[in-house]
């Protein structure tokens, strides 16, 4: 028996260091072809080989926890939204199954599917809360939902049996089969959960979830419908655990609201995922194969009134210790050492050979019609923060295929204006029209889909994916089918390589953006937003703090945009950069536009000279400030 679990608990590939140095391809392939089938076969064989119910019970517990932790990991690991309430799905799935069995004599093996659906629905509803809030609020919401479910099941005694509990039907199969009818469905469900998690990782959905964990706001600005991504992630976790909860309820034969909605089970799920390795594919499973046996051992061998507190102390202490001293988990610690004996970790985990695909993505160079019409028209945009009038009724337009500058002293409201135009900051004042579409009520992703793109003063790339993935992540239009597609298609890979080649960064394609210099990151971020083929690009201080060579390259990239019909709005303090590039310039001070005109016009405007440029600036480059 011990030998069978060790297939799961040992790290995927302890031996060949040389292969590890060559990258993950062979390691992953070896894991896929050898270890996983061996482990699965061994687990299939256990009940046939050994009639020991202790081990069957332990493995059933392990499967349940592993399903819980793997499902939790899709939301908590990939997307970074930690839930402390996932045991609610066990209870909800269990009660749905139990109620269906009691009221309609439905077999729990069918009822558990309904349990899964109910949990999926509950997860979808709960995920709505993340539309407007982040991180810690989600933890509170999941905690509250778990508590609410316990209260409701206790109070709604007509449906659930209340505090009396709910008895499940008595199994009808021959005792010779022992717990097989629970064991095999749960094992199958575990395989399905891990498969789903694996599939999420290699899809665009997974790429988006990692982006959400790194920088959700930025991800939305690149056109990702983040609310939907999070909903799918949380629903997947709920769905599998809900079905498992139904089967598990049948196994335990009795439902008691205080026990099934116990927050300690939630804690164990989180503990498994954190201990094994949050955000990894196998970490949560590994964690469950460590924790469940300990849990089983303590509940069998500890007795008396103090047994509960001692278990709580053990697992609570373990959770605290993992959070404090091993926050990345066991698996990343081991594989990190195996793969990269020295030097910093590279972000190569998700890298797979791109897949050939005859998709629309191949030929995507679209040009925007050039013409006299304005691509961006902002009218009366305003925003106050408390008593501070950050932007005060700004009118601004950017012509098709034109480069427009926006200058002004620090604190004059330029970045806030960008935030109002791209929807980072909501406002009730004013209107934004992009290429004829009214956008002031639209969400960030919709604005990106309409053709709006921006870079940031300090470049914001996603550190947990490669430079190449950073380039291709943007979503020009939403389609469900796209979520299922592989992280990078062949066409995308080739095109992104060409883009990186042009930037002179081809060597970094599969590195983390952390390997790039500040200026290189600015180039990559520009390439990232240009991937969207935007109708309007907003650049927030593109030249600040980068070398003259990179600055020239960047200016060349910007100059290439107008011939395609793309409008550019650029905030910059380097007046020479502005006067080289821009056909017209807006000047902001104290939240309002104080001047608008050609470079020559505004540098002659006394108000502008007074507010911003100073007397000597026109003929001299001011250098850059941030």
């Amino acid at each position: 028996m011990t030998s069978t679990t060790s297939f799961m608990t040992s790290p995927p590939n302890p031996a060949p260091r040389a292969a590890a140095a060559r990258g993950d391809g062979r390691l992953a392939a070896f894991t896929r072809r050898v270890w996983i089938p061996t482990a699965v076969l061994a687990l299939v064989a256990v009940p046939m080989v050994s009639a020991n119910l202790y081990y069957q019970n332990m493995l059933i517990m392990t499967f349940l926890l592993a399903i819980g932790a793997s499902g939790w990991n899709i939301m908590g690991g990939y997307a970074g939204y930690i839930s402390l309430g996932n045991s609610a799905f066990i209870g909800l799935g269990g009660y749905t199954t139990g109620i269906l069995a009691e009221k309609w004599s439905l077999s729990p093996f069918i009822g558990c599917l309904a349990g899964g659906l109910v949990c999926a629905l509950a997860a979808a509803l709960l995920s709505l809360v993340t539309r407007r809030t982040r991180g810690m609020y989600f933890v509170i919401v999941t905690f509250a939902a778990l508590q609410l479910l316990e209260i409701v099941t206790t109070a709604w005694s007509g449906l659930t049996g209340g505090s009396q509990g709910l008895a499940m039907p008595v199994p009808t199969w021959s005792l010779a089969y022992q717990d097989w009818p629970f064991y095999y469905p749960l094992l199958a469900l575990l395989i399905a959960t891990v498969a789903a998690s694996w599939w999420v990782r290699r899809s665009k959905l997974g790429l988006g979830l990692f982006a959400i964990r790194d920088d959700e706001d930025k991800a939305a600005g690149l056109g990702l419908r983040v609310a939907l991504y999070k909903m799918i992630a949380f629903v997947l976790g709920g769905l599998f655990l809900g079905v498992a909860g139904g089967i598990y309820a049948y196994y335990t034969s009795f439902l008691n609201s205080a026990a099934v909605f116990d927050i300690v089970t939630s804690m164990l799920i989180v503990l498994c995922a954190l201990l094994g390795g949050r955000g990894t594919l196998w970490g949560p499973v590994l964690g469950a194969f460590i924790i469940a046996p300990i849990s089983n051992f303590t509940s069998t061998n500890l007795g008396g009134a103090d047994a509960g507190p001692i278990r709580l102390l053990l697992f609570g202490g373990l959770l605290g210790a993992v959070a404090l001293f091993l926050p990345r988990g066991v698996l990343p610690a081991i594989t990190g050492r195996l793969r990269h004996p020295a030097g910093p970790a590279r972000v190569t985990e998700g890298v797979e050979p791109p897949v050939a695909e005859p998709a629309e993505t191949a030929a995507r160079d679209r040009t925007h019609p050039t013409g006299a019409a304005d691509v961006l028209v902002a009218r009366g945009l305003g925003k106050s923060f408390g008593g501070l009038r950050a932007v005060d009724g700004v009118d601004l337009s950017v012509g098709r295929g034109r480069i427009t500058g926006l200058i002004g002293p620090n604190g004059s409201g330029k970045t806030t204006l960008f935030n109002l135009i791209d929807g980072t900051v909501a406002t009730r004042e004013g209107a934004v029209t992009l290429a004829g579409r009214k956008l002031e009520r639209a969400g960030r992703a919709s604005r990106a889909h309409a053709g709006l793109a921006r870079t940031y003063q300090l470049p914001r790339l996603f550190p947990s994916m490669t430079v190449l993935e950073n380039i291709v992540i943007g979503e020009r239009a939403f389609s469900l089918a796209r979520l299922w597609a592989r992280r990078t298609s062949m066409a995308e890979h080739e095109r992104a390589c060409a883009v990186l080649d042009e930037l002179g960064l081809a060597a970094y394609a599969h590195e983390s953006p952390a390997a790039l210099s500040y200026g290189q990151r600015k180039l990559v971020e520009l390439a990232q937003v240009l991937w969207l083929d935007p109708a309007l690009v907003m650049l927030d201080e593109p030249a600040a703090g980068i070398s003259p060579a990179l600055c020239a390259r960047l200016a060349a990239m910007v100059r290439a945009l107008p011939p395609l019909g793309t409008g550019v709005l650029v905030v910059e303090h380097d007046f020479e950069f502005i006067s080289d590039l821009c056909q017209d310039v807006y000047v902001m001070a104290q939240g309002g536009v104080i001047a608008h005109g050609s470079v020559a016009e505004i540098s002659a405007d006394p108000a502008v000279v007074d507010a911003y440029l100073g007397d000597t600036v026109v003929s001299q480059p001011t250098g850059s400030e941030t």
């Binding site: 407007r132 609410l148 109070a155 927050i263 507190p309 959070a323």
Partner: protein
Amino acid sequence: MTELLQALIFGALVGGVYALMSTGLTLAFGVMKVVNMAQGAFLIASSYLCYALWQHFGIDPIVAALIVMVPMGLLGLVCYKLVIARLERIDPGLTIVATFALAMVAEALLALAWGPNEVGTTPSYFNQAFHISSLVIPRAQLYAFLLAAAVTIALQLIVKRTWLGHAITAASQNPEGARLIGIEPSRVGAQVFAIAAGSTAFGGAALSFLYQFTPDTQDAWLGITLSVVILGGLGSMPGAFAAGLLLGLAESLTTTYISVRWSAAVPTVLILLVLTLRPQGLLTRATRQDAAS
């Protein structure tokens, strides 16, 4: 009519107590954006300490709170130094998980020390009431309410009027800037946590004579205190006090007009509703959140 008035009185008094129980959470959340999931456990720990002083020395729980404040403050300090400060540095997202783990450990230790049976303190005003015509005003609840008002005002004065309060505000709004003018954010953080946990002693004292408690009730109390903080908005003291009143009234009206069984659902339902519909809280206005960019 009397029924309604009575429900409102009970609700308001209980609500004040809820606010008192939440002061620690409000403070840590408001100035440091740290959600201390161990608030319920800290609260019950305070109640047990008050209970011990009551049981062994006959000290009135409200007086005992002044003593219990010291070990609780130290506990807050130690938790900050050993757990929060470290995680805020390496992985802030896990802070909430670690404080939750802390709650579990504390619950376990309390259960090992005092066992699983319900206890409570019974000072002289326990189970007594003032009567105004047909209305009943329970003395214990009234005293707890007054205590709540006093502690809330004291904490508000500390935050708004003292140098420490200004340092706290500075360190929470702009840690880098605070460091430049000689305020070390991690030291301020430790002080905030000490004050937060110390103030929980008063909530624990009130809890000890108003309710029967066991170690495993801590997560129910955590739910209530979280509800107060979420309702009140971004952790302001007056907001939390108002939110406590609102929660108390909602519970009391549910008990009177629907069923006592469902009143337990009120705090969590309010959490879910507020976070879905108005995450900035019921009692605050939106403030700028994008200043970092």
